[in-house]
């Protein structure tokens, strides 16, 4: 397409967008709503993945050494733990260290007690599994080891969290697919209406010898513009919403719960919504033109 043809096609695209401005606004509106929902689901879904990953990373198995265990038995336990290949990290926490950790939280509460002498805590091993999902199985096996008093791994909570996040991710993903399909159809429909409105013009163009691409370009650019606008507008809205949500979550100060940073989230949203919006626009306009370009 020569240079003046390029200007012509963009000029026609914008003229047509302006001439059918109410329909253009309506269809951008529909794309905006669709991509806004899509973006929201992406935000939720990406953060669920993020939180799950964080929680998974924080899930530990704590093995308390039995009070009655002999030093030999404890040594044996350590050897057995070290022999396992599914543990990423093994850390011995002596009862003294455990107490030290607690001290700041207890503060003056234990003033007067000689807790150093009567330390009620036990020696423990803090373990981290290589595959977080295997925590439950590992914990069950460890219960049978010698010198093991109790095994903790946040029973139930971990299992439930894994199930809930996986379920939510599946729902979010299906919704994203459905909404994308809806967006393609809506854009295709809008371009079809513009093509219909301009069908007389297209007919005349064909009679006077316009090539198919000459006729097609303005519509493709029109679809592209609709899709791009439909992607950029929700990005601003999502940026605002996400900022609010992130600061709210931070204010709640819930353990484990932190959202992805705004910059990371916006990068992800731009990476997906902009190509998706323009892609949907181009796909929509291509889908709606075939029939009208038969000679």
């Amino acid at each position: 397409m020569p240079c003046n043809g390029f200007t012509y096609a963009w000029g026609e695209a914008f003229k047509s967008l302006y001439r059918n401005r109410w329909m253009s606004i309506a269809s951008v509106g529909v794309v905006v709503v669709t991509l806004l929902m899509l973006g929201t689901f992406m935000m939720v879904s990406l953060n669920l993945a993020h939180i799950t990953a964080t929680v998974k990373g924080q899930v530990e198995i704590v093995v308390y050494v039995d009070e009655k265990a002999t030093p030999e038995q404890q040594k044996q336990l350590q050897t057995m733990l070290e022999a396992r290949t599914d543990l990423a990290e093994i850390r011995f926490v002596s009862r003294e260290e455990a107490l030290e950790r607690l001290q700041p939280e207890l503060g003056d509460f234990l003033e007067g007690y000689d807790i150093e002498a009567e330390n009620p805590l036990r020696d423990s091993y803090e373990l981290r599994a290589i595959v977080p999902e295997s925590v439950i199985n590992i914990a069950k096996e460890l219960e049978g080891y010698p010198a093991v008093g109790d095994v903790f791994y946040g029973q139930g909570v971990v299992e439930k969290l894994f199930n809930v996040t996986r379920g939510l991710q599946i729902v979010a993903l299906s919704l994203m697919v459905l909404l994308s399909i809806t967006a393609v159809f809506l854009i295709a429909h809008t371009i079809k209406l513009t093509v219909y409105i301009r069908s007389k013009e297209i007919m005349i163009m064909k009679y006077v010898g316009a090539t198919n691409w000459f006729i097609r370009w303005p519509f493709i650019l029109e679809g592209l513009t609709l899709g791009l606008l439909g992607a950029i507008l929700p990005l601003f809205a999502l940026y605002y919403i996400y900022g609010l949500a992130a600061s709210w979550v931070t204010a709640q100060n819930i353990m484990f719960l932190s959202l992805l940073p705004v910059s990371v989230m916006m990068f992800e949203l731009v990476k997906y919504l902009v190509p998706l919006g323009t892609g949907l626009g181009i796909l929509g306009s291509s889908l709606s033109m075939g029939r009208f370009l038969k000679v």
Partner: protein
Amino acid sequence: MSNNVTYLLIMLSKLVGRPNAMIEVKELYHRYGKDSDFVLANLNFTIKRGEFVFIVGPSGAGKSTLLKLFIREIVPSQGSISILGQDLGTMPPKQIPYLRRSIGMVFQDFRLLEDRTAFDNIAFVLRVTGASAGEITRRTSHVLDLVGLAHKAYARVCDLSGGEQQRIGLARAIANRPALIIADEPTGNLDPDTSLEIMSLLRQINLRGTTIVVATHNREIVDRFQKRVIHLEDGRIASDEQKGVYARAL
């Protein structure tokens, strides 16, 4: 001196080498659909460069079908049509736009963009061919002048009379300097005086060397113009006469 002679010889050989036939129709048959009757049957004729030809005949005789075949809007069921030596049957689809740029079309219902100005309607077809902005302005003003509507250049088409609209249609048809103009009942929606004006414009365009083919029901004008008349009846050529008249001699 000898250079000039060589030049003259080259120009002459080019003139001689140019196909003399504008349209060549051979054993042409057409039907819409495999099981329907032939709408055109066994047509054979040639229209030479620079001719002015009327196609007449009762409604349903196949006049519009024939004109649609000329611009390759439809493909003949059988037989061949050549325009300027190019066989339309074997023409690749990519070539069709370029064929149409050498043909100007005029329609009974004008087929103008009513919400745009006269100027825009003509500039529109020049833009399709990739003409520069300066060229577009020059050509558009020139053809508007030729049809006597220079003063209405910036009037919207819907504000113009039927006769004025058809003159815009004519101006649009000649904007690309086509070798051939095809008009399907160009005066079908116009009163007798306006019809005569439009046909006279076509005759003027013809005098400049453009070949003109007009399908019409306008008996008065056909009889008056004394041009070649091809009479179609039931898809066949009933008569084909130089200086013919509307009613077929029995």
